[in-house]
């Protein structure tokens, strides 16, 4: 356990070695949040109820979703494909540490440092907009869905990264993946604003389970399909985990670890 704690600490120190770069990265995140937050601020201003959301509920959704997505989506796994391509991955495999645990510790450090800053940013935005955020609800249920989303995101990122075993162009599927996540996971609007059929189709995919459903639950907007949604979240967790492990084994067998 101590060795993973060390990896966690070292990853955090890496961020502080490039302080300006990190601060500007957070500035980018803040700009993106401001764009979408004040867009909805303007749109919902004239309505007491906009697509089933009051203005405070809608704006609370945007801020909570931003906070939760920073933790769930933030990742260092994008580095893996490059490590495979340049052969550096052998340095990690040869060490007496679990590959999956090593990257999970790095990922957690990334998420931890991002959420600390993200928390400050949403408080600033809420203060500028003079809105009162909804009180968090259903905390136990939230934690369950949140952990599922976190692990699904981790395994999906691993699957994309492992494509590096077979191609040097794994940036391309990652580009598509990032776009899909940024658009369809509920960053721009609550997915239940979609027409009902589209929303139900979206629920069949793993993307709403990353942070849309955890956000919805913490805001107290539980619908009648909660058990089904919990089953789907667990199903996607198992599937993504199995695929990631399968691809890892296949990749190890087919890869010649050139370059070192």
């Amino acid at each position: 356990m101590n060795k993973y704690l060390t990896i966690f600490n070292v990853t955090i120190k890496e961020y502080f070695a490039y302080r300006l770069s990190f601060v500007l990265w957070r500035f980018r995140t803040l700009i993106n949040l401001i764009v979408i937050f004040f867009f909805w601020f303007a749109v919902s201003a004239k309505y007491t109820n906009f697509a089933g959301y009051s203005q405070p509920a809608l704006l609370s959704y945007i801020l909570y979703a931003s906070l939760i997505s920073d933790f769930v989506i933030g990742t260092r796994l994008g580095d893996i494909a490059a490590e495979i391509n340049n052969g550096n991955i052998i340095n990690i495999i040869l060490k007496p540490i679990g590959f999956f645990n090593y990257y999970f510790a790095r990922d957690l450090a990334d998420k931890f440092i991002n959420i600390v800053f993200s928390f400050g940013e949403i408080l600033i935005v809420a203060y500028i907009a003079r809105i009162s955020l909804s009180t968090p609800q259903n905390l136990i249920l939230f934690v369950l869905f949140f952990l599922c989303g976190l692990m699904i995101s981790y395994y999906m990122n691993l699957i994309i990264a492992f494509l590096g075993f077979w191609t040097t162009e794994s940036w391309a599927p990652r580009f598509i993946f990032t776009i899909l996540i940024s658009l369809l996971s509920g960053n721009f609007f609550p997915l239940d604003m979609l027409p009902k059929t589209l929303y139900q189709i979206a629920l069949l995919t793993p993307i709403p389970y990353l942070f849309f459903l955890p956000t919805k639950i913490i805001l107290g907007r539980i619908d009648n399909y909660l058990i089904l949604e919990a089953m789907m979240a667990f199903f996607w967790l198992l599937i993504s985990r199995s695929i990631a492990h399968f691809i890892w084994k296949k990749g190890n067998k087919s890869f010649s670890f050139w370059g070192r």
């Binding site: 770069s21 500007l24 980018r28 004040f38 749109v43 906009f50 391309a172 609007f189």
Partner: protein, 266 residues
């Protein structure tokens, strides 16, 4: 006095780099397909998002769906044209940290031919044509479109591209001055993304910052306001003066950066 031979020679070099860029692009065919697919997916999703918003409300701060779509398309046109022309800027930092920039500086042509215009992105050309057609579709749905407005729109699109050029030159200069930051160009992209929607919908001080500090309103919004006929002439003059002022400033910053450049790593 303009030296015709020099222009001809620079055009030839630009053409040569563009041919190489095309060959490089088609070396990664799957990458091309995924990249274009991803860009189109993002574009149609955001257009769909606008449609979704207008399915719940009749106007957005007084703008109809067609008018809001013109703002969105104008943003896409300028943003995409800049990516098409200046893709090489995204690859500038490794050139600095590896010392490869030395090899650019010793060549007998202006370094901008290589580091600013040297990597024309043909994938963006395809989407640019599509965006142009969709913009025309929305423009011809406006009930009050005039030939003058259309001409002025084209002029201000060019003006927006001049501002974009200045920003890219500033990014190049910062790439030399601040080597510890590796995503300056993405900061520019994020800041300009506020121009997807009319800036009128944002409250102060956001509107002030994105009109006068980062001139996104002049760059992305003003051409759309001209096309839909909701603009004032003073702002058009301010935008043109501002664009050339910013371009001048970016060139000065570039010269200062090159003076500070220390060849390292190569």
């Amino acid at each position: 006095m303009i030296n015709k031979n020099k222009i001809k020679r620079n055009w030839k070099i630009f053409w040569l780099f563009s041919k190489f860029a095309l060959k490089t692009t088609f070396q990664t065919r799957w990458g091309v397909a995924f990249f274009i697919g991803g860009k189109l997916m993002r574009f149609f999703f955001l257009l769909g998002f606008l449609f979704l918003v207008f399915s719940k409300t009749k106007s957005l701060y007084g703008y109809s769906f067609q008018e809001a779509a013109i703002f969105f398309m104008t943003f896409n046109l300028i943003d995409n044209a800049a990516q098409f022309l200046f893709r090489e800027v995204y690859r500038f930092r490794p050139l600095i940290t590896s010392g490869g920039f030395d090899l650019v500086l010793i060549k007998p042509y202006h370094p901008f031919l290589r580091i600013l215009l040297g990597g024309v992105d043909y994938m963006d050309l395809l989407t640019l044509v599509l965006y142009l057609l969709i913009t025309l579709y929305f423009a011809f749905q406006l009930p009050y479109l005039s030939f003058i407005n259309l001409l002025l729109y084209l002029l201000l699109l060019t003006n927006g591209l001049i501002i974009a050029t200045a920003f890219h030159v500033i990014v190049l200069a910062l790439g030399i001055l601040i080597t510890s930051v590796d995503h300056t160009i993405m900061i520019y992209r994020d800041i300009t993304s506020i121009g997807r929607f009319p800036l009128d919908i944002y409250r102060e001080p956001i509107r002030f910052v994105f009109t006068f500090v980062f001139p996104i309103a002049l760059m992305m919004n003003l051409p759309a306001q001209v096309l839909i006929g909701k603009f004032n002439w003073e702002l058009v003059v301010v935008a043109i003066v501002f664009a050339f002022g910013l371009l001048g400033f970016s060139m000065l910053l570039w010269k200062k950066a090159v003076k500070h450049y220390q060849s390292w790593g190569g």
